[in-house]
Symmetry: C2
Subunit: 418 residues, 2 copies
């Protein structure tokens, strides 16, 4: 058989044990926080009928959806976000779900974007949403959750920027933007993070918006104030324990997706310098597409991939172990295989993750190097010269210490060193 070059697609990634360990810790923080506020998980399929996904995100995004014909000729598409599938779920099981429905969802999504540093074609989203109620407390809880998660991860300085589509819509109205151009104008304003005001203005002129209208838009944005719903929400955010330094009303925030109808929120991390890592808002009309009547809903996405990248790049968690294995049992002769198994079984009973080195013909140095490379803290050596029949040598690789102990003392000794 001819050799096949082992390679992966651009924008896709393998996660080896060390990265998996960091990812898992981040997921655990996120899940624990979601659950502390009463959210339960759901999962939806990777493939959906294309008509379920398309036409909700806006034209530009629709082109990035992975879409194909399956073996049965069905027009199918890969999950692009977690909000549209949630909306479908809420319509499909509306009788069965408790309302308000507080769900979280952590799954990969696929976007055929140009891959670049920090931007992937396969990425994991962590979404948390409240469906079935239009209360500023719902939006406020989402903001509090974002704050708590980023705080627990260890980010020192970040701002949750908050605006409302209502605020933007009334600015557009006052500036006399025609109804069918409003979403297109908002999508341009959304680019203010990435390009200059002049460039946004230029883009708007290319969209045939009058210069006078453009000037008005920017003037009204500067003068904008939160609406009543947003004011209530901001006051509840504070009551929920989010310090004032960490959130602010920001009328320049627009968000790119078409489906938002009320408050919108986005988090900008300044220290470490990451940029935007959460995005969300209220979308009271999206579920209606599937059920035929409006169902209020709000929520956010948290971009786990950028968070993990930063933890790795800045080595934010230096003490982090790359393995779940605590003990390696080594021996220098097949004769000890029975003893190795016996000790390993007794450690597992005590919930100490234990591995037997599988090739007793390897030299001791090679076996120790294996433990070191994998990140295992303790090595038990059987049958070392000079050791008594009932003793083993226990090596602590972190502290670079070793001693001979009785077999019966192994568990106690390991627990002492936890």
């Amino acid at each position: 058989m001819k050799k096949i070059e082992p390679k992966i697609l651009k924008g896709f990634r393998d996660f080896l044990p060390k990265q998996m360990a960091i990812r898992r810790k981040v997921f655990d923080i996120i899940k624990d926080t979601f659950e502390s506020y009463g959210f339960d998980p759901i999962e939806t399929p990777t493939l959906e009928y294309s008509e379920i996904l398309l036409g909700k995100y806006g034209e530009e995004a629709d082109k990035l959806v992975y879409r194909f014909k399956d073996q049965g000729g069905r027009d199918v598409a890969m999950r692009y976000d977690l909000t549209v599938p949630l909306s479908r779920v809420c319509a499909q099981y509306s009788q069965q779900l408790t309302k308000p429905f507080k769900r979280y969802q952590i799954q990969p999504v696929w976007r055929a974007e140009k891959p670049q540093k920090g931007r992937y074609r396969e990425l994991t989203q962590c979404d948390v949403d409240i469906v079935g109620i239009k209360s500023p407390l719902a939006d406020a809880e989402i903001i509090a959750i974002i704050y708590n998660i980023l705080n627990k991860i260890g980010f020192e300085k970040f701002t949750i920027r908050i605006n409302s589509r209502q605020v933007l819509f009334s600015i557009m109205e006052k500036a006399e933007v025609s109804k069918d151009e409003i979403l297109s104008v908002i999508r341009s304003i959304d680019k203010l993070d990435k390009i200059s005001i002049e460039e946004v203005k230029q883009e708007l002129r290319l969209k045939n918006i009058k210069s006078q209208t453009i000037e008005k838009i920017f003037q009204f944005i500067q003068e904008a104030e939160p609406d009543i719903f947003l004011r209530d929400m901001l006051s509840l955010v504070e009551k929920l324990g989010v310090p004032k330094d960490f959130f602010k009303f920001d009328p320049i925030l627009a968000r790119g997706l078409d489906y938002y109808t009320g408050p919108i929120y986005e988090t900008f991390v300044e220290k470490p310098k990451i940029g935007s890592i959460t995005g969300g808002g209220r979308y009271d009309k999206l579920i209606g597409i599937f059920i035929g009547q409006d169902i209020p809903a709000c929520g956010t996405t948290i971009g786990i991939d950028r968070i993990v990248d930063v933890i790795e790049e800045l080595n934010l968690w230096p003490e982090f172990s790359s393995t779940n294995t605590r003990v390696l049992i080594t021996a220098l002769d097949e004769f000890f295989i029975g003893q190795a198994i016996e000790i390993s079984q007794s450690l597992r009973l005590e919930e100490i993750n234990t591995e037997i080195y599988l090739n007793f013909e390897d030299r001791l140095e090679k076996q120790l190097k294996y433990a070191d490379k994998k990140g295992i803290s303790f090595v038990i050596i059987l049958g070392l010269d000079g050791a008594q029949e009932n003793t083993v040598v226990l090596k602590n690789l972190r502290k670079k210490m070793q001693k001979e102990i009785d077999k019966s003392e192994i568990i106690e000794e390991l627990k002492r060193n936890e």
Copy 2:
């Protein structure tokens, strides 16, 4: 906008909170067991270049791979199993990985099979493999892990059937099956679980195998004995604590996939009656396709979907809660929103998952019904007629009891009822 019918593709599933809770518990048992033997997790992309996946599973399986051209015209395919991606990973990062490489992987795979009860197009596989060593202890550890997982899940009677491709190959040789027909004959024998001996013989005749050869094959299968490697492995399985009733040499076991080279294993669950839920074996030549030299490897897949189906159908875990939320705080007036937030925050600090009912305008019955439907055990009611200013009513919905307690006693009271 026209209404879109909310529906999903056949063979694909949504998982709502109750199913997610059962799935998570099963995953936790599986992960904990894998890790107790020194395995660490990895993950690989959903999409691979098609040439990476195709040509390894056999002709019939290749047709079931979801395959399409992406936006850049690349020929891509969706993950079909976890063994081929692992092999690619072992070749691609061979310098970086510790060897033997003990990895586990829990991810969905996609197969365009005819959907039927218990057979899905999107299913989750849990794989555990040891790469880089040809030792019967490696295979034996895989068997011990299977036993421990199924035992912890609560299955009472199951048999891990063990055979070896070597045993089958020498039967084929003795029966004078020509070399290029051997894998095809093995694929037919693999169907003995599902169809009768007569039907298998008929299939072999259609494949132009002589009647005399077919009779010899079945005669030699009956007389077969384990080879040396398998004998060593079976004895180590016993040393690793697997009771004799739970595993056996079974020369009729064939396994469908082409890439196995040594021992093969499959678990048949008899009580509850589920059938085959694990499959694996040794595949010493698969990684070689990607790296140009043989690397020994062995492992198994555990079919989580069938396991979860059975737990649900037979209600094996009746006490299982469908929510992670322990406490619901309800109130009958917006006035209490500050108090509700305060109590919720104090409970979260104690790691008690707490939800505030978000619509204080709803009647109390509706709020209580919400808790009951969601499966929340405790409800704290604020501002109930007759309650003192500093007290709340704490309802235990499971025990159908309630009492008025001082706010300062809430945490203690909840902990007492854990």
